[in-house]
Amino acid sequence: MNVQTDTKLQSFLSGFEGVRENAIQNEAWDALQYLDFPTTRDEYWKYTRISKIANAKLSSGKASNTILDLEKHLLSDQFVIIENGIFRADLSSFDLSKVNVKVESTDTLVQTTANMDELFQAMNTALAEQTLFISIPKKQVWETPVQVIYITTENQIMSNTRLVFESEDFAEGHVITTFINEGNSQSLSNHYTEVLVAENAHLKLDKIQVGNGWHVATENVWQDGNSTFKINTMTLKGDIVRNNLNIEVAGENCETFLNGAVITKENQLVDNHSFVNHLVSNCMSDENYKYVLDGKSTGVFNGRVVVQPDAQKINAYQQNGNVLLSDFAKINSKPELEIYADDVKCSHGSTTGQLDEDALFYLQARGISKDKARKILVSAFVGEVLQSLDNEKVLAYVNQVLFDEFGWTEM
């Protein structure tokens, strides 16, 4: 193999040697020797410039031994705290008789659906020290959600966090991931999640991104027959955020729900790339992402839906609505529907606009100030997506962040 030595990635990785004793991790490390940071010439990264990350000098993070006050972020009594990529057993709290949660060294990795041709997945696989497993046994229904809080407390680090959320047949459960970083804008959180939704299982993942700095998250989801998977991605903070959500619908009679809300200001860049791959017949997927962009921020939505040959009677819906609150905010919205079967119902729509001036005036004419009227209208606009947060605590938390960060009040 022809090893390049002078790539951006090589110098980026110089701080991350480390020992790998595991075949998969070795494979990932080898892949990194010929990969490099994507540029906007790569179709997959066309609108998302990450040279700031590529040029950063980062090292691997360590957990501290300080107490972290995470009270206001706690949304369940079953929770796992991961600081700078490392499990904090002392701060975590979960009852193994209720939920099956364990943290293992990634050295013991025996299988993965990570794509080693993709930089962030390969990097995560090679460098993640630990993997968190949340595994629901057959026929178990977990009433309480498991929350995983990923917190960054150091500057100029890259944390590689790895989560496996898996189920056996007829299992039901809900995981909430919360990404927090209250100060360090020069840190990268590179998160990787594998979800296995077994036959007749119903899994839900709420992903709440409220961290400063840089954040890349990849979910590789696999759905077996008669299963339901629902993911709600709420991106409320972050200088550069990139989500890669890949769902393989591999069994019949599945339902898949993808909801996303992106609220930005200043110079933020938030990019959601989703991919729903309908491999078999008789399934439904429903995707709805809404963006409210202010300041000089940029949003990217790329929603790819593929219906494979012979995957008949698929209903696939996709909707992306965007509101630009400033003349300098931008959105790049691109639906990609590839339908190779003939008996399929697909719809997609993308709308971008300012706030409805008539509605704004109507509210003002009733005595509501312009500023407040704008907030009412934007929160109504994303309200449709927020309603998909059927966990009350999660919804209240998101509303609180919207109030703290953007001054929104619910209507």
Binding site: A365, R366, S369, A380
Partner: protein, 250 residues
């Protein structure tokens, strides 16, 4: 004599550089009901828009005094807070914003402006119940998204319901009667009559005499070519019904 609530002097206004109002005068005292009639395109809605402060409607000359304040100096919400209310000719649908939550926000902003205590949840719900009955608005509609899925008549009744909630000094009703069947018209008219007292005033914009059978105006004005060209009593409305506007504009 009762006090003057609205005094419009020599109002000139334009939209997109097009002169629409060309020297309009109108004086409304507390306790009065005024009807403004006139052909389509005469500038009646423009008058309502200028008074309520809609963007793009610009006063180029004149003066509007509203109960002692210079109305044109105020933002639209401040005009409402001072007690001006506009029932829209075309009420706007606002998906995702609940009718009563928005009204409560409006009411509390108005109260705060007047340095009054915010309305309690209980007090507010009592108000909603009582005042939605004034226009026989189904209380289910009161809690839905603003005007979404409302019929034409329900939208108009919702406007009057909002008026009942906000208790303005001066209400301008822009074609509130259009699109109403006779039952709905009676309900709306009865609502307006009930809300009317000696301290407030109503300006009815309409181009049918029909509404005036149910709400008796003290004055009827004809607006044509950007001005009030004739003023009379209720009998003028009947005359207009019979003869149209041509005889006045010739």
């Amino acid at each position: 004599m009762s006090k003057t609530l609205l005094n419009i002097e020599n109002l000139h206004a334009e939209i997109e550089d097009k002169q629409i109002l060309k020297g309009l005068n109108l004086k409304v005292n507390a306790g009065e009901i005024h009807a403004i009639m006139g052909p389509n395109g005469a500038g009646k809605s423009t008058l309502a828009s200028v008074l309520s402060g809609r963007d793009g409607y610009e006063m180029t000359e004149g003066k509007v005094d509203f109960d002692g304040t210079d109305l044109m100096e105020l933002d639209p919400d401040e005009r409402a807070k001072e007690g001006l209310f506009l029932a829209f000719q075309y009420p706007v649908e606002i998906p995702g914003v609940s009718n009563i939550n928005f009204l409560r926000t409006a009411l509390n902003e108005i109260r705060e402006y007047r340095k009054e205590e915010p309305v309690s949840a209980k007090e507010f719900m009592t108000m909603v119940r009582e005042r939605s009955q004034i226009v026989e608005l189904d209380s289910k509609l009161a809690s839905r998204s603003v005007n979404v899925g409302f019929s034409g008549g329900e939208k108009k009744r919702n406007e009057i319901f909002q008026m009942a909630m906000l208790e303005p000094k001066l209400a301008i009703l822009d074609e509130t009667d259009s699109g109403l069947d006779i039952d709905a018209l009676r309900i709306v008219a009865a609502g307006v009559n009930k809300l009317k007292n000696e301290n407030n005033a109503v300006v009815l914009i309409t181009h049918y005499q029909r509404l005036l059978d149910y709400i008796k105006p003290d004055f009827v004005h004809v607006l044509a070519d950007g001005k009030i060209i004739k003023t009379g009593g209720p009998e003028l409305a009947l005359e207009l019904e019979e003869k149209g506007y041509d005889w006045l504009t010739k």
